[in-house]
């Protein structure tokens, strides 16, 4: 069955190394989180600061897009090459995004024109 995995005991050095590696990865994730929080602050700030809507709208949409890519690749592990079927998953997500965008465009053009 697919559950079969052999138990492999790590050496002390390997174990210590892996723990440190996990800690470094976690620190990177906190940095990613800090970037997301910063972008959220900026998005709210430009709206409160009352800039021209022609600047604000594309700008906050861009911030949202960057935040989402960070979420997908950092928090949701889409960038991890070892993960199973990661190529299929990437293809699915981006095709999903393209379909989503098309649906979006369709609805808007049907209603507005």
């Amino acid at each position: 069955m697919g559950h079969d995995t052999h138990i492999h005991e790590k050496s002390v050095a390997q174990h210590e190394f892996d723990r440190r590696k996990n800690a470094v990865e976690m620190r990177k994730q906190v940095v990613n989180f800090a970037i997301m929080i910063l972008f959220t602050f900026i998005a709210f700030a430009v709206v409160v600061a009352d800039f021209s809507p022609y600047f604000i709208k594309p700008f906050i949409l861009l911030l949202a897009a960057v935040q989402v890519v960070l979420q997908l690749y950092a928090f949701m592990h889409m960038g991890e090459k070892h993960a199973s079927h990661i190529g299929t998953i990437n293809t699915f997500v981006w095709v999903g995004a393209i379909i989503a965008f098309t649906v979006f465009l369709c609805f808007l053009t049907i209603i507005w024109w």
Binding site: T5, H15, D18, R19, Q29, V47, Q71, M76, S84
Partner: protein, 209 residues
Amino acid sequence: MDINTKYTPKTWPDHAEQVTLEGKNKFVGIWIFICSDIVLFASVFATYLALKDSGPSGMDITAKELFGLELAFVMTMLLLTSSLTSVYAMYHMKNFNSKGVLIWMGITVLLGLGFLGLEIYEFYEYTVHEGFGFTHSAFSSAFYLLVGTHGLHVIIGLIWITGLIIRNAKRGLNLYNAPKFFAASIYWHFIDVVWVFIFTVVYLMGVLG
């Protein structure tokens, strides 16, 4: 050897959530679900944008008057932080610290409950005090459909994670429950992904008019 094999921090595999076939399948499965959810949210988003501020003649409530930023800001912070706490849970899973996983998943649930409470309060205010009920206009229907669908996802996520915590409280980590926690954390991040677009498109762009 079966999935109930006991592990120690030293024998715990590096990517425990994807060592078994079941774990691999769960990872792909949750992503296929998320892709279908992307399309679902695309249609409710498109509906909202198309029907924003429109309704029967004489309709007097617009997005610009209705939405406030304070509540949306607090909700965004709660959900974004809950995303980080579930990353902490996954970090403890890598280190075979089952208590850490349970505690951080618990914090995630609490933050999610805070978010849900604020959302219910917001809907209550709109419906009862502003007279902006679901049937008020095309705009209100589209708004509640979009934000409500997201809220439903939050409720399902909370029930799911709470169930996992209760069920695995005394089991410790093994190759059977590691993929379950992992899939739940990916689903929770996806809820945050959708919310990033909701606060940008609905609240921020709504306030702009």
